[in-house]
């Protein structure tokens, strides 16, 4: 996907960031430097704080470069999007108590609060997987979930269809088979694992 800005907008944005004292965020990503010699870029201090008045000049050409998804690392959707999708799967509003645990862990799950200095963190790391499963387990164990998807163990497609927004394929169903055929676990455990697996899949949480 290519994002384009007209030249005037690009110039105005460049001017704004160039002059702002403490610009934070909304960059398009890094701009490799031409030199490695720490050349002066303004930033004359004048007392406590806010000395960083110099900023990297924005190359007008950069704004016209296509944005490409990094191919060597998966990232999560923003927290608010994942929350909305959970609410949609459950058929509830986002302020429903069913989602309280998820909101309790919102910053561990990568949400941001710029005013308080918490940046978005959308890495799908082992730590975050742990917290995600911890946060959604009450949902998967809830009566509400079981009433809405009563045949999940026999028919994982019922949840896959809603969570992923497409018809599940044979491959999708096959992937769940080891839960369906597990003799080690009772129905309740199978149900919980099925739910956790679908709602922890990259198709549901990935960007």
């Amino acid at each position: 996907m290519t994002m384009r800005r007209n030249p005037i907008e690009t110039f105005a944005l460049g001017l704004f960031f160039g002059l702002s004292a403490c610009y934070s965020g909304v960059g398009d990503g890094p701009r490799p430097q031409q030199a490695d010699d720490g050349a002066e870029a303004g930033g004359e201090g004048n007392g406590e704080g806010g000395d960083d008045s110099g900023s990297e000049p924005t190359d007008p050409d950069d704004a016209d470069q296509p944005y490409s998804v990094p191919g060597d690392q998966v990232d999560l959707m923003p927290f608010h999007a994942r929350l909305a999708n959970l609410a949609m799967v459950l058929g509830v509003e986002q302020d429903d108590p069913l989602l309280d645990t998820v909101k309790e862990f919102r910053y561990q799950l990568g949400d941001h609060d710029w005013a308080n200095g918490y940046a978005a963190d959308l890495r799908w790391s082992a730590d975050r997987m742990q917290v995600w499963v911890r946060a959604i387990k009450p949902i998967c164990d809830s009566n509400h979930m079981r009433a809405r998807y009563p045949d999940l163990v026999q028919d994982p497609g019922s949840l896959q269809r809603v969570a992923w927004g497409r018809e599940p394929t044979g491959e999708d169903l096959e992937a769940m088979s080891s839960i369906m055929t597990s003799n080690q676990h009772d129905w309740s455990t199978q149900y919980g694992l099925m739910c956790l697996a679908i709602l922890s899949s990259l198709e549901f949480v990935g960007a």
């Binding site: 934070s24 965020g25 490695d36 191919g71 308080n116 963190d121 742990q130 694992l193 922890s200």
Partner: protein, 510 residues
């Protein structure tokens, strides 16, 4: 007669597990080093006894202090401490040392402490200071989030084999951080990787990202992604990461369920990788993360610690430490020190990084600025050392303190791309002392011209330079930290920018 190492009595396929078990048992604080060595010798033979030592846990605290922290009120260079007629002041080229020479304390190993740092006096035999490291190169008078001491060979140019270092850092967009590429992992990340190999059940290392603005500290595991630290951005996140009940740790009741969930998600995600054009590396990294997640979904009977500080702990750690000076405070440095001590002394994790700042000050550095930085650095450091000694793990602990984005010249008006770039190393294996020197070379109408005496290979100060030349390469400091931590040379040599580089051996006990 040469004895057969007893390890040969253990079935080959079980030897690694057996050695891990033995090493864990021997790592208990009350086991003397000599006993550990004797058991190692018995098991492995004398030649390989040192290998067992490599399997011993070590503990690491990386203190990263921004913005362009000045340790001038913590460790006074001997040349300044003893200079007669020092012109003291907060501006231009006056010396920013606001404690007169008769209030300084000289320790038996030749270090000079101020009243702000005197709490470190009992520990100076285990604290080495070397401030004349390769300077920072950030575009804004040196500000950067990496530092050559932490990732030698970092470069702003896209370079063959080097990868972006900032991808895992939340909020990494602001100027004053700069974008670097590297191959060399930062110290806490590599240490975290090593310790998790030794003890697979170990909780992941953490970095407490409590700098008061989006100036940050970059951690980079490079080709060892298992070493990536957990980024903690708030106090509540820290407490949630280390809950104090077993139930909160064991999200799933059995390891079988955790493994099954991990396996099913991995299979389900195959299609996502295929359809979205991700590289095989992305898929492989994800599989590793899922494998690690399985261990976190069920951890069995974890070691627990209560992270919130009690009233007594608050009183102990906070006494005399000035509050953070910044725009958006998250936690005080004494709190971070307390939490780091709890995590390490309870062996919850072994790699902890602290990120803290004193909001950037230039041109006029008043005495309270230096006093605050002095006390904020010295008092938590002294108390951490006290606690780590009391826990009996000091001989296997290393604390590395960095002026993360460059230090300063002694001048009142100074920026972080000149003068010093401070590296403090503390630990039971560290040879205490102030290495190198800063002195007055000549006077000006307002202050002084300062000289920087970089240490030679024996740690002795050489003839001064008055500019930024001739600093110690960051790779040497990096190798020094790794040697102190017992990270094998074979692993260090895998990274091209530090391969074969000699540590600063004068900073370490023989």
């Amino acid at each position: 007669m040469k004895r057969k190492p007893r390890i040969l009595d253990v079935a080959p396929v079980r030897r690694r597990t057996f050695l891990r078990t033995v090493s864990m048992a021997l790592s208990a604080p009350f086991i003397p080093a000599a006993v550990r060595f004797a058991v190692g010798e018995e098991l492995l033979g004398e030649a390989k006894a040192a290998d067992l030592d490599n399997l011993m846990p070590t503990y690491f605290i990386e203190m990263n202090l921004r913005d362009q922290w000045d340790f001038g009120h913590v460790f006074v260079p001997p040349g300044l401490a003893t200079h007669q007629g020092l012109k003291i002041g907060h501006d231009v080229d006056k010396c920013c040392l606001f404690h007169p020479s008769d209030t300084l304390t000289q320790t038996p190993n030749g270090m000079f402490l101020t009243p702000d740092s005197i709490a470190l006096a009992p520990h100076v035999d285990d604290i080495a200071v070397m401030e004349l490291n390769e300077l920072c190169v950030g575009a804004i008078h040196g500000h950067e989030a990496m530092n050559a001491m932490r990732s030698p060979g970092r470069t702003k140019l896209v370079s063959s084999g080097k990868t972006a270092t900032w991808h895992n850092e939340p909020g990494y967009d602001e100027q004053g951080n700069d974008f670097f590429y590297s191959t060399t992992p930062t110290p806490a990340s590599l240490h975290n990787f090593v310790q998790k190999q030794i003890t697979p059940s170990l909780r992941n290392g953490v970095t407490m990202k409590y700098i008061s603005r989006f100036h940050t500290v970059c951690h980079f595991a490079g080709t060892r992604p298992e070493g990536e630290l957990t980024r903690i951005q708030s106090v509540s996140q820290l407490f949630q990461t280390f809950p104090d009940t077993v139930q909160d740790f064991n999200v799933l009741p059995t390891p079988e369920e955790a493994e099954l969930l991990s396996e099913v998600v991995r299979r389900v995600d195959n299609r996502y990788f295929r359809d979205n054009g991700y590289s095989s590396e992305a898929k492989s990294k994800h599989a590793n993360q899922l494998g690690e997640a399985a261990k976190l979904w069920h951890v069995g009977e974890p070691k627990l610690v209560s992270m919130p500080l009690t009233e007594e702990e608050n009183a102990y750690w906070s006494e005399g430490v000035p509050p953070q000076v910044g725009a958006n405070k998250k936690a005080e440095i004494w709190q971070m020190a307390a939490w780091a001590s709890k995590l390490l002394t309870n062996d919850i994790t072994r790699s902890v990084s602290l990120e803290f700042d004193y909001l950037d000050v230039h041109e006029t550095r008043e005495d309270h600025v230096m006093e605050y930085m002095g006390k904020q650095a010295a008092l938590p450091l002294a108390r951490m050392i006290d606690q780590l000694k009391a826990a009996g793990i000091w001989d296997r602990t290393v604390i590395a303190v960095y002026s993360l984005d460059g230090g300063r010249a002694p001048n009142g008006n100074s920026y972080g791309d000149e003068g010093k770039n401070t590296f403090v190393l503390a630990g039971g294996r560290v040879a205490g002392g102030y290495y190198g020197d800063v002195s007055v070379v000549s006077d000006t109408s307002t202050g002084h011209v300062y000289g920087y005496h970089v240490p030679n290979d024996a740690g002795q100060p050489q003839a001064p330079v008055t500019n930024n030349d001739n600093r110690v390469p960051g790779a040497r400091s990096w190798r020094t930290v790794m040697k102190a931590l017992g990270v094998p040379d074979t692993l260090c040599d895998e990274f091209p920018d530090v391969a074969g580089v000699q540590p600063l051996n004068y900073m370490l006990k023989a």
